[in-house]
Subunit: 106 residues, 2 copies
DNA sequence: CTATATACTTCGCGTTACGATGTATAACGT
DNA sequence: ACGTTATACATCGTAACGCGAAGTATATAG
């Protein structure tokens, strides 16, 4: 899919991935893969951005000698998802504009 | 609306605005305003980009002492709109992922 | 013993939306 | 007569963002 189209969807998508239970980077990528593929560099950048914006909190966990950072969504993060749902109405209106047919040819 | 969400929509939106009949910059902004507001600097950048990509052709017209550039969509431009319709299916799938409810709380 | 999977990090690049600013004419209000 | 708004397009600099490339390090599978 077009890279530009993914923008704006990615942030909310990551929040949605941890909406119901905390998760960590590598797992998030796998969970989102069927819907949206994103590279590791992209995800970890997004996670840092969302943390800076208080959309999620981080918890370090030692797992089989490797570091795992578990991310949990905050109230603000949940609010961001709700905002997206509002924006979606506008997106639909734009979609209708793009796919509308010329009345003269109907 | 979130700026990022507009990306990827803008290009196709401009193409859609001239899909049925040629138009010029200032008019396009007015036509799109109910759906999507964009600044002049943004639009003219997009129009140049689309022209470079052979998505549209330009025709200079003298109108009341002012220059008007009429833009007409090409076959490639129409193809781009069709591509978007394909991408839309993926967008919907992402939307469903974002707005899905936790099964345990249903 | 080598390759793959797991897990997170950093750097640099290219694309892009936009505000600010500029140029120039016509129409409208008072 | 004069100022403001509308018309119409152009350029520049900035900041945000996605991603490929490369790095570090351990565990598991073939």
């Amino acid at each position: 899919m077009d890279i530009q189209l993914k923008r704006g969807l990615l942030d909310v998508c990551v929040l949605a991935a941890i909406k119901n239970e905390e998760s960590y980077g590598y797992q998030i990528i796998k969970d989102m893969k069927p819907y949206l593929e994103l590279s590791e560099s992209t995800l970890y950048t997004i996670l840092k951005r969302l943390e800076a914006a208080d959309m999620l909190t981080v918890r370090n966990v030692e797992h089989k000698g490797r570091l795992r950072k578990y991310y949990r969504i905050t109230q603000q993060g949940l609010g961001r998802i709700e905002e997206f749902k509002e924006d979606w109405k506008e997106i639909l209106s734009i979609y209708n504009f793009i796919t509308r047919e010329d009345a003269r040819h109907e």
